[in-house]
Amino acid sequence: MQLSLSKYLKKTTEAAPLAVFRLFFGIMMFASIVRFWLNGWIEKLYIAPKFFFSYYGFEWVKPLGDFTYLLFILCGIAALMVAAGYKYRLAIILFFLSFTYIELMDKTTYLNHYYFISILSFLMIFLPANAYFSIDAWRNPARAFQKIPQWCIDAIKLLLGIVYFYAGLAKINSDWLFRAMPLKIWLPSKYDLPLLGDLMQQEWVHYAFSWSGMLYDLFIPFLLLWKRTRFVAFLMVIVFHLLTRVLFPIGMFPFIMIVSALIFFSPQVHHKILNFVSKWFSISKQRFDNLKIYQFSGIKKKVSIGVLSVFFIIQLLFPWRYLLYPGELFWTEEGFRFSWRVMLMEKAGYAQFKVVNAETGNRFYVDNSDFLTPFQEKQMSFQPDFILQYARFLADHFEKDGPENIEVYVDSYVALNGRKSTPYIDPEVNLLNFADSFKHKTFILPFEDEIKGL
């Protein structure tokens, strides 16, 4: 065992797949940043709001006012540097930090895709992605290598595999498989799609999509790994992600996943891609083909492998943390994020906050639009940690120019996957009595139905 592990770690392969991955990743990230800017989202999401929802423990991460634009510029430049392989280590660290900072500024915008980008860029810090076909390698032939350890490429495959497989596991539940929820709600609203519009109204289509989606997520990593099914699997990747792109507003993500899946192909394919790119830009690709093997220096190897081992153990375990909480995961959302639970729920809520003066009993309701953007209000209304943080904010706001002894209550209703809306947070509970923590939030009312499954 010990022997085979050290043997595996010594195995080498062509660096081309990692170089292609780096190139496309950088370009995609740059495009995403530009798109985000052009859509006006920096202003809408990070400058306009008066209040931001922080992740527990990251309350110090806040938008920087107009300097937020600078942060995006930094992130975009770093992405281009990654693509080109120019000062790669610095670039990928900058990218990881700036991108992650952006995501931590307001959890209203949380998406699994963004989390994926964050941890993927973290992983890439430890990989020699600039060893081949990069400006770094071009300028300094001593640091150019045609071959790298096999595990550097397998690490990316493993992360992709985890994302897909866990997304598949999360779909093994009664709502998804036996009620075809939430697709039964989402698909009929795509009535105006050419060719597919009428099909989207059929109940069997909702079930077919649910089941095939689950099977796809579970098996695609293995089909991509196995040489004989790889090509067909890649076609499935394209069809699947393209379909999700057409059906749902998920931005750049499908293309990032399609391009990422190329990593599963053999080095020959990647050499072809690089040949193509070389011809296009008149780059002499031969300059990189030096047959040299990249070797991690002793300490660097230990650190990289050590950090990444811990990283992957966390990745494998973290999505299961929901088991430590009582109650229905979809309802309480305790342990829901960072777990590849993608497109699983149609959830909406309404939260009417009541501020009470404990001494006089005087009370009034809060007009949420005074403090939150419609998007923030929507996200806040069905997530307990948001509700708690917002209650605290309201107390601070109203105590500033008013009475000291304030209590904050919320009358809230949440509808989940087509069920009728039901009370969500205990309306009798003064939310100020609770501090945010990783502990179970006892003020969440129980879910009145049952969702079976993982």
Partner: protein, 372 residues
């Protein structure tokens, strides 16, 4: 192998191109085959049988209002003033049937804000009349015109005779009334003309399912109207629901007083009729939210949303029977009934904004950000 990789490359590039076309699904064709619920037909019903006839009916009243105001200026007597007061009430009531249609031209013009921003700024009105110069087209003058301004001018000075005395002291009063009435009528003419012109087709043909489609946009406006204008504006603010201290001066038609509850009920009725697709000029109900929800409910096993919404409309109406016809008096005598009305309306907000919009898969947020 070479062929395969070429294919892969082309495929990847193709999709990168598809990606750059962004935000697909803006004007899709309308598909109405099979058992598909026909949004185009629903939009047409809304436009042709509800929105346009409502505006036409209100335009008639706003035209009368302007004519009568001018007749009063010609001959400022007691009878004429009483006729004007009566027409103000009739027109204000009729306005409640169109107030929720803040889309298209009405949205562009800020129609609702110009016609019904209350409480009106009485001091500004007085100073403008005193100076004799004003420009009612400025958005900064929302609160100095429309029905609330007429309400103030016609009812705040006391009896008809006392009011006439005020008017006779400075002819600018009557000029101002005419300017306000003209503005109400001009804006209404413009909005109605737009619906009778190109906008009707623009609205009905935009059957897209995206957030820019007519169904999505209108539904957001419609539910927002119920929450912010009907619930908060007509009941919540006077009741002090958001401040803790009742504020009777925030009542609609503050000075005329006894019509405030009727205005509220008219707005509620029009809103409910719209939900059921009730045609203004009679006939069987056309497709609207109720029918759309019924269509969606057939696919799900969950409890009936339509039944809950209907029950809540009944509950709101039942509660309203306890309210004084003058909501200002109600706030002053027993505000708890106003708060009770607010709570009933609030329950309907939840059903509309959470249950209905979820069932119809209409996104509440106005930010078109990415999803998971």
């Amino acid at each position: 192998m070479i062929k395969i990789s070429k294919f892969l490359l082309i495929a990847t590039l193709l999709f990168a191109v598809a990606c750059s076309t962004e935000d697909g699904g803006d004007n899709g064709g309308d598909s109405n085959g099979g058992d598909n619920f026909d949004r185009g037909e629903m939009l047409a019903n809304w436009a042709d049988n509800i929105i346009v006839p409502s505006f036409v009916a209100f335009l008639e009243e706003s035209q009368k209002l302007e004519d009568i105001a001018k007749a009063f200026a010609e001959n400022p007597g007691t009878t004429e003033l009483n006729v004007l007061k009566a027409q103000y009430k009739v027109a204000y009531q009729e306005f409640q049937t169109v107030e929720m249609f803040q889309i298209g031209k009405a949205e562009e013009l800020n129609y609702r804000s110009f016609l019904n921003t209350y409480p009106t700024k009485t001091e500004n009105i007085e100073s403008k009349i005193a100076s004799g110069s004003y420009n009612l087209e400025l958005p900064s003058n929302f609160a100095e015109q429309g029905f609330p301004a007429l309400d103030y001018l016609l009812y705040s000075y006391g009896s008809t005779e006392e009011t006439l005395e005020v008017f006779n002291a400075n002819p600018e009063y009557i000029n101002y009334i005419i300017a306000v009435a003209e503005r109400i009528n001009a804006l209404t003419t413009e909005v109605t003309a737009s619906w009778e012109g190109d906008y009707r087709d623009t609205f009905v043909n935009n059957t897209s399912s995206s957030s820019t489609g007519s169904v999505d946009r209108f539904t957001n406006d419609y539910v927002m109207y119920f929450e912010k204008i009907l619930r908060s504006g007509k009941i919540g603010y006077p009741a002090g629901a958001f401040t803790g201290s009742p504020s009777p001066t925030n009542v609609e038609a503050l000075y005329a007083g006894d019509i405030s509850k009727n205005l509220y009920l008219q707005a509620l009725n029009s809103f409910e009729d719209f939900y059921y697709g009730v045609k203004i000029n009679g006939g069987e109900n056309g497709p609207s939210y109720y029918q759309y929800l019924k269509y969606m409910e057939d696919g799900t096993s969950s409890e009936s949303i339509t039944a809950s919404i209907a029950d809540q409309f009944s509950a709101i109406r039942a509660q309203s029977s306890e309210l004084d016809s003058n909501l200002k008096s109600q706030v002053e005598s027993d505000n708890s009934k106003m708060l009770a009305a607010f709570d009933e309306l609030q329950k309907e907000v939840v059903l509309l904004k959470v249950d209905m919009m979820q069932a119809l898969s209409i996104s509440v947020d106005y930010v078109d950000s990415d999803g998971d």
